[in-house]
């Protein structure tokens, strides 16, 4: 079985790991680096649970081969530290009951942060459209949408 060496930055730390070419980034993160905050759901790019940041933008780690991430910079849910947008989203998710079992939450938060930064004027319809690639089987989405909208509204108020 062939193996390849991959050097990538994960949550600001450089890592060099041996992987099988068929290994997905999600499996590298969970199995090799023990970053189990990245969840694997459908494994075909539909449910969004595995969403992480690759080179600054959200991407599916279940259909991105580890080998293709050689030289890339990856940020997982463990890597947001005191990022102010993520802190606001975490608080809003708690307040609005935007999670129950928590399986979809890491992917939800990564995508929600991207919406807040990329689409500061998004309304409810746009938030729902943008979150459509992340499935939640507990909340019915109302709390999630409310949480994202509340962070957007707070940031607009702060900027005004």
């Amino acid at each position: 079985m062939s193996r390849i060496s991959v050097t990538l930055t994960v949550n600001d730390e450089s890592e060099t790991v041996e992987v099988e070419p068929r290994e997905q980034l999600a499996d590298l993160l969970r199995g090799k680096l023990m970053l189990t905050g990245t969840h694997v759901g459908c494994e075909h790019g539909v449910c969004g649970a595995c969403t992480v940041e690759i080179d600054g933008v959200p991407a599916r780690s279940c259909i991105t081969h580890a080998g293709s991430c050689d030289g890339a910079s990856v940020r997982t849910i463990e890597g947001y530290g005191d990022d102010p947008v993520m802190a606001a989203l975490r608080e809003a998710f708690t307040r609005e009951h935007a999670l129950q079992c928590g399986y979809c939450t890491p992917g939800m938060l990564v995508v929600a942060r991207d919406i807040v930064l990329r689409l500061p004027n998004a309304d409810e319809a746009r938030v729902r459209e943008e979150m459509a690639g992340n499935l939640c089987r507990c909340t019915g989405y109302r709390g999630i949408v409310r949480a994202v909208l509340s962070v957007l509204a707070d940031r607009r108020k702060a900027a005004a």
Partner: protein, 263 residues
């Protein structure tokens, strides 16, 4: 599931990439379609040649009166305005509704077109916009018309030893009118029926009906569709063999809505 084992190659030049393909490697770009097929073990290639690091694979350049779009340009880049002008506006609107943003950040226009899923967005839209695909093989580059690039389900006019390097689309006048309608039961899923119409002032309008069981249907002169969309959509859809009644209804609706947007 996890994919069956394969080898991974990262060619540094187009010549290396072409050589790998000639030896039977499967090209991979964003792997947003190939990745799921590998995970389901529907595809079990011996080697994947990762094209993402080839020179000029992504990016848009203006060459005379055409725009050359590198095959590795992501849907998200197009959504964010990488393609300038009126055709860029049209393409940005299409790109925004491909799958989901995390998929668009990785998936590429060339990968999607070469994969040739009949329900994919660029498979439907690019034949309507016109232009050419630039293929590269052992004998160098050759040009293929986008209108006849997709031949069937997962089947293109590329030879087995060729790669899709770039796409060239025409610069459109500001007054070019565009209609595009697709039916998805959920935001981001594959289309069940897609219609598009491009009408450049002074030229014949062109329409496409896609998300069929084969290649997109190109209507080179869609004047009749613009004049009487109800009757003409019905006539066009009736020429498509073996469509279930619900798909006929959606296909007619797609053409009617696309036509309405330009008239």
């Amino acid at each position: 599931m996890k994919p069956a084992a394969f080898d991974y190659a990262r060619p540094k030049s187009w010549a290396d990439a072409v050589q790998l393909i000639a030896l039977g490697a499967r090209p991979g770009a964003g792997t947003q379609s190939l990745g799921p097929l590998l995970n389901f073990r529907l595809a079990q290639p011996g080697t994947i040649a990762d094209l993402r690091h080839l020179p000029d694979y992504a990016g848009v350049t203006i060459v005379g009166d055409v725009l050359r779009i590198g095959a590795g340009t992501t849907h998200a880049a197009i959504e964010d305005g990488a393609v300038p002008g009126r055709i860029g506006e049209i393409m940005a609107g299409v790109a925004r509704r491909i799958a989901y943003r995390p998929v668009r950040n990785r998936g590429t226009i060339g990968g999607s077109l070469a994969h040739a899923d009949p329900a994919a967005d660029w498979v439907a839209v690019l034949p309507a916009l016109g232009g050419t695909a630039i293929a590269i093989g052992p004998k160098g580059e050759r040009r293929l018309l986008l209108a006849s690039f997709v031949l069937g389900i997962f089947e293109t006019a590329l030879a087995p030893d060729e790669l899709l390097r770039a796409i060239e689309v025409p610069v459109l006048p500001a007054g070019a009118r565009w209609g595009h309608w697709k039916f998805c039961r959920k935001v981001g899923e594959f289309s069940k029926a897609t219609g598009c119409v491009l009408h450049v002032p002074g030229a014949r309008p062109r329409a496409v009906l896609a998300a069929l069981d084969g290649p997109p249907l190109i209507i080179e002169d869609a004047s009749a569709l613009l004049a009487d969309s109800v009757a003409e959509a019905r006539r066009i859809v009736a020429t498509v063999p073996d469509l279930a009644p619900w798909r006929q209804a959606l296909a007619e609706t797609a053409l009617r809505h696309a036509a309405k947007a330009v008239s």
